[in-house]
Amino acid sequence: MLRELIAGNNFSGRSETLRGALQRRQEPAFFLGPYAEAALSGLSSTVADEIAIYARAPQHGCFASIDWTRLGSRKPATLSGGEQVSLALHCFSRSAYRVIGIDTALEQLDAQNRASALAYLSAPHSFDAILIDNRLAHVPPGWRRQDARATTADYGCDLAGLLSELRPREVPVITIRAMDFGYEPARPIFRNVDLSLKPGKAYRLVGPNGAGKSTFFKILVGVLAPARGTILLNDMPYRPRRSGNRVFALATQNPDHQWCGATLAEDIARRRRALAACSEVMPRSDALLAAMARKLGIRDLDQLLYELPLAARKRLSWLWPFSGAMSWLMLDEPTIGQDRDTRTGLAAIICRLCQLGYGTIVVTHDDEFAASIPHQPLHIEDMTIRAV
């Protein structure tokens, strides 16, 4: 029974080490990476199908932090990031695989699910587990540590240098009144939400996996329409679904869900063109955006985004929010896959943006990261959002 933690910074070769370790086993191994494309099989149309693909006689106990029978008819792609990871772990626990490799996926879990997952993986089951996780400050009892030490300067970032590129701007107050939302009328996510968000502050949206944190972001940018209620900008009605989003710069949990082109140059040009008529939007010059991208680790705007390592794509997803084009930033799990130095640098940038007047809403299950940013928690509970 092997329990191994592969430690190291970003781009130190941890993922390659993990893949190599699994290949050397000369037997199939369950692989759990971050985001749906690396966590789930891609072969099923419902949660029940996904479980059926893997299910054999119970092999390794049964990890079930979520009631999957209740969610059996859901499409896996509609689950939240944390739910997808929990589902994958459940599938592994029901499978015949004797090895599991996990590449930063546990960082998407809320505190309770993460603790359950780590306890499950650490328990004396008959399988071997190899793990990459940026948030484990110490090697858990019973685990051994392997260091990845490859060095590359290809994607080195300079987040401290980025601080000087940030500029102040006018930012509106966001007011939400009596908002209801549900994907189905019988299954409300939000009911009667009243909330006021002031500029110059950081807010942390807190709730378990599947509570509706990413859904709230999608309502603010106009991807989803509330069933009832109003959103106001400085007391003026704001209907992003009708007039388009001109306020919120969203960095999505999976960075690949936010690109508007194959390269960064294409992405920026399309955003610029789409928002050209909006006076509230203030895109920076291409030269300045290129300078900021370099400080995020990308040397060339014509670099194909999909050829970058995932950790580099995740960093690059912060460019548009940091550019100051929009007045409110929304960062969905920004620390996934990021090492300690990067998380520290990111926290400093968010603090600086708040000093410059921007409003920031962060979704993160990384308590240590959240603690490094003065913020007001917004708790999602009982289908409403409460400022604490």
Binding site: P28, A29, F30, I53, G244, Q258, G261, R271, Y306
Partner: protein, 87 residues
Amino acid sequence: MSTALITAGLIAPRLSLKNAGNGWILVQTVWLSVVTIAIGRLRDKWPAENTLARLDEALQTPAQSMTWHDALWIAAAIAAAATPKVI
């Protein structure tokens, strides 16, 4: 995929002339997303799990015939892949 384009203001989540003009970008974006997902699974998950062998059972069932919907999407995807960058 549509989340990115709606958030960026390239398409609207309702009937809109903007969608007619930028619909092609949506097709390209969907295509790129499919490629990324396929690369992720082909590189990491499926080889480790020996997924292709597990598919044998599923492939033994009779194949469903292609509908005109499928043909339309395949044609759009091939055209999007073959189109040079459109900004």
